[in-house]
């Protein structure tokens, strides 16, 4: 097996600034995303994901310029998510230098958008982001449902069935976030990660809940994920990317040096 499992740091960006604190950038400043991305690139991150958490039109312009700047300086794959609703949104981000776009809510409300996007731009650049929450009772068989609006609104869609449908519609990759685990530092929801990874043939990125390096290993070995995404353990300097890779390699996971 030659393909390395990927480590992807994720930045939440608001009006062109990283909004979650990032330790290695001047603390008085929330962080220049380009600066942060460069640091992760130097550390050996395999990709970088940006989530644009703003909604306003002006901020969107800022985001496009930021992606342009980043793509001129950081030569690893960049994924941009958040607020991608139209073919035009995708085109602008790709033209600015993004390699992939993350589609989340727009896919739930209009699955055909994913098909259209994949046909237009190729599956390789379409990442469907899934926010899943466990809805089964403890004595029932495990079941997870898709939620929107930061985990507040249920959709009635079964997460595993939804992932299968998105793969059929042309998604190139699934970014799976457990809303139960996001921000908890208790580790990925391995059950839903495994269920989705086994159900589809496209790669799965596990997200939500990483608090220690063992969680990254578990996401891959037990969850069956192809890549692991994390924010705070890297942002706050608890661990560096080389430490994470060494830890994974020590447990027999193939990573890029």
């Amino acid at each position: 097996m030659g393909l390395a499992k990927r480590i992807i740091p994720c930045l939440d960006v608001d009006n062109g600034r990283v909004v979650k604190g990032v330790q290695f950038v001047d603390i008085r400043d929330a962080g220049d995303p380009v600066e942060v991305a460069r640091k992760y690139d130097e550390q050996g991150a395999d990709e970088i994901t940006f989530l644009d958490i703003t909604a306003s039109h002006e901020d969107r312009e800022t985001m496009v310029h930021m992606v342009e700047k980043m793509a001129s300086e950081v030569f690893i794959p960049l994924t941009v998510g958040g607020g991608i609703r139209t073919v035009d949104d995708i085109r602008r981000m790709l033209n600015a230098g993004a390699d992939k776009v993350g589609i989340n809510t727009a896919a739930v409300f209009n699955p055909e958008f994913v098909r259209e996007a994949a046909e237009r731009f190729g599956s390789q650049c379409i990442v469907v982001a899934i926010d899943a929450k466990k809805v089964s009772a403890p004595d029932e068989e495990n079941r997870w449902e898709i939620f929107t609006h930061g985990g507040r609104k249920p959709t009635g869609l079964d997460a595993v069935e939804w992932a299968k449908k998105m793969a059929e519609y042309g998604a190139g990759e699934i970014l799976l976030t457990s809303m139960d685990r996001d921000g908890t530092k208790n580790g990925f929801d391995l059950g839903v990660t495994r269920a989705i990874s086994d159900a589809i043939s496209i790669p799965v990125i596990a997200s939500g809940g990483v608090g220690e390096l063992q969680h990254l290993v578990d996401g891959i070995n037990d969850g069956g994920a192809d890549a692991v995404l994390a924010a705070s353990i890297f942002h706050f300097g608890e661990h560096t990317i080389p430490e994470a890779k060494q830890f994974m390699a020590d447990q027999g996971i193939e990573v890029r040096d």
Binding site: D99, S123, Q124, P203, D226, D257
Partner: protein, 213 residues
């Protein structure tokens, strides 16, 4: 002056390719263009490409890029990237079967579903950092370790008619002809512009290559 033309046929993101070349060759003039006159004048030519082969080939033919590629690939360093590599082959299985530019004798095939490696099912697309075994010496490998990793993302792979045209191989369930070429033509399945140091080194070598072996 060292001019590199990146052929723009309306498919996907050319920003990354041109920025990466500018980064490694600050003195070079990098043009993203579909203008045949400018492409003919350039010392080096890059054919990039992302997306589905049907759409790429349709635009390539509509703009006359196929004839232009055949012409300029005769006499100067020429680099094909990803779908820009696949487009150089005879034929692709993608989209129900598409005839390509037919510059090099090879076919583009689907990985298969399921793609197995022993008992393990491999994900398709082949996405991420994989090793490239340099099966043949080449000026563009200069300074790059054998079995170095590059960033791949593709569901179809190239199989050359003759091993003579294969310069680098990657294993993903089956052997992929990841780097192919002949004389002044060099083509890669991975994305050098997204492959950090190893990719930038390769692009730098390309900007300094005289097209000779």
């Amino acid at each position: 002056m060292n001019t590199v033309a990146v052929i723009d046929y309306g498919m996907g993101n050319l920003h990354s390719v041109s920025k990466a070349i500018e980064h490694v060759a600050p003195d070079a003039r990098v043009l993203v263009t579909s203008d045949p006159a400018l492409i003919r004048e350039a010392e080096r030519v890059v054919l990039p490409g992302v997306g589905a082969i049907r759409d790429c080939m349709a635009e390539i033919k509509r703009l006359g890029v196929d004839a232009l590629v055949r012409e300029v690939s005769q006499d100067r360093p020429f680099l094909g990237i990803c779908v820009g590599m696949q487009a150089l082959m005879q034929h692709s299985e993608e989209n129900g079967g598409i005839d390509c530019i037919n510059l090099l004798p090879g076919k583009v095939k689907f990985f298969g579903d399921p793609l197995m490696e022993g008992d393990t099912r491999l994900k398709v697309p082949h996405m991420g950092w994989n090793r490239v075994n340099q099966v043949k010496a080449h000026p563009l490998w200069q300074g790059i370790d054998n079995n170095e990793r590059f960033y791949f993302v593709h569901s179809y792979y190239v199989k050359m008619e003759s091993g003579d045209d294969v310069l680098g191989r990657t294993e993903y369930g089956l052997p992929i002809d990841a780097v192919v070429g002949r004389n002044n033509i060099f083509a890669v399945q991975f994305h050098p512009e997204k492959s950090q140091h190893s990719g930038l080194d390769l692009l730098k070598n390309f900007t300094q290559w005289n097209g000779k072996l």
